[in-house]
């Protein structure tokens, strides 16, 4: 396996997705290793994202790599007018793999074109956040035992929520049925509905959000309805409480149903849901560690077989 970039989920094949999930599974069994001993991982966060950065840095640390980088763009030369290309080429002199988060869309793709050091996209503006998608897929796979033939309900901000868009793209290989539950202002954009039709993905749209609507869900994927997304604040006031999940809405839910959320949550999942056995969002974030351990190994050319036969495991 050659070194490569991990920039987008859009063109990832069914086989590759399952392969990555199998690798994540290995890391969940044995998360602590020295398979990346001697490697240097750079985490370049041109936009702060504590959660994602901690997850990547933990993954690197648990595999024995050392981590360099910055968490705050104010300290970088970008603020002095340095181009992204120069920053990447400079860091490429030091690191074996670069994890980057940027507010500019397409930044990771471009970084991957200017250097041979593997680039991992940790989010580029509203465009892609593929490691989040990988941990979402792993959480679905783990809780349902499969990715095939599932009913997935996407709730909240379906217009700007990049995680839900990535999920549609990645799930297209697995015969899903999607349900889009959103206020009109934040409805699933037409381009993704066209995408669904193109790939023969079934979907239904709902404005209502109640226990009957979600009763046949396997996965309830909640997202945050953000005030700043609304042009009409009256509309926001009207819908802000409509897409809140409360514990009593789960009485008709299927036993295998799990609630996911990319986090941070504000008020879209009531705190009484946390104790409900359907709640899974905190464990979901924890799965990010295994997904990211798999991503590190994959971009560095380490295969699933090598991970399975790893002699560096720390028990």
């Amino acid at each position: 396996m050659e070194k490569h970039n991990f920039v987008t989920i859009a063109d990832m094949s069914r086989e590759k997705i399952l392969y990555m999930l199998n690798m994540a599974q290995e890391f969940e069994k044995r998360p602590n290793r020295e398979i990346l001993k001697g490697k240097v991982v750079a985490t370049l966060f041109f936009e702060p994202s504590t959660r994602t950065r901690l997850s990547f840095e933990t993954a690197a640390n648990r595999l024995g790599a050392r981590v360099i980088g910055f968490a705050d763009p104010k300290v970088t030369s970008g603020t002095k007018g340095e181009t992204l290309k120069d920053t990447i080429l400079m860091v490429a002199n030091y690191a074996d793999v670069i994890v980057m988060r940027h507010y500019i869309e397409g930044a990771a793709q471009y970084a991957g074109e200017v250097t041979n050091v593997p680039i991992i996209n940790a989010g580029d503006g509203a465009h892609q956040h593929p490691s989040q998608c990988m941990l979402d897929l792993y959480s679905i796979y783990k809780t349902q035992g499969t990715l095939e033939n599932l009913n997935l309900y996407l709730v909240g901000d379906l217009k700007y929520g990049r995680t839900v868009h990535s999920l549609i793209m990645a799930m297209r290989h697995f015969n899903p049925t999607f349900h889009f539950v959103a206020p009109k202002e934040l409805a699933m954009p037409e381009e993704y509905k066209i995408y669904c039709r193109e790939y023969g993905i079934r979907f239904e749209e709902h404005n209502e959000f109640n226990e009957d609507i979600i009763s046949d869900a396997d996965i309830l994927y909640m997202t945050r309805v953000q005030k700043e997304r609304f042009s009409d604040l009256m509309e926001y006031e009207r819908v802000k409480n409509v897409y809140i999940l409360k514990s009593d809405m789960l009485s008709k839910a299927k036993s295998n149903m799990r609630i996911l959320h990319p986090l941070p949550r504000v008020n879209e999942i009531a705190y009484d849901v946390d104790l409900n056995p359907h709640a899974y969002y905190i464990q979901q974030a924890g799965n990010g560690l295994f997904a990211r351990e798999a991503i590190f190994c994959d971009v560095l050319g380490i295969t699933l077989d090598e991970v399975k036969n790893d002699k560096t495991i720390i028990l």
């Binding site: 859009a10 181009t83 992204l84 290309k85 397409g106 930044a107 471009y110 503006g125």
Partner: protein, 153 residues
């Protein structure tokens, strides 16, 4: 006036290119795009000719000039359906229909202000998604856009 005489309102050229079926309102964009003002050879620019297809059309005749594929791709952005007649010895030896190429490199600007191509000194790259509807997709931010809504670099 017969049709033949109408044709002769514009002088024939011996060698060069006749760009036909340019929408009249686009004619000066095409002139600028191909940098015809910098040429030393005779250039005839005509607009508002009657056309069955376009109602009104523009024609440009350029003597002793044959355009490169790159210039033709640029042309496709401004005026996608023009026809290039390659003239040799007063005869049309080739008719080239200008179509949008599968990839446009460094030709048009991405409409997404948050796209890396608008924030870094670099070439833009677009993939053509639908030639008939004129939809192109930015290689970097992957936003799809209409070719007649993008600006030239």
């Amino acid at each position: 006036m017969n049709a033949n005489k109408k044709e002769r309102l514009v002088a024939a050229i011996q060698n060069g290119t006749v760009i036909d079926h340019i929408p009249s309102e686009k004619i000066f964009q095409v002139v600028a795009l191909l940098a015809l003002e910098d040429l030393a050879t005779p250039v005839t620019i005509g607009c508002n000719y009657r056309s069955k297809k376009l109602n009104k059309k523009g024609i440009i005749k350029v003597e002793d000039k044959f355009f490169t594929d790159e210039e033709i791709s640029r042309l496709s952005v401004v005026a996608p359906n023009v026809i290039l007649n390659i003239i040799k010895d007063f005869e049309v030896v080739e008719k080239k229909m200008v179509t949008t190429p599968d990839m446009l490199k460094g030709i048009v600007r991405c409409n997404n202000p948050k796209c890396i191509t608008n924030n870094e000194p670099m070439y833009t790259v677009f993939h053509t998604v639908d030639k008939e509807k004129g939809i192109i997709r930015c290689h970097y931010c992957e936003k799809e856009q209409f070719i007649d809504k993008v600006e030239l670099v």
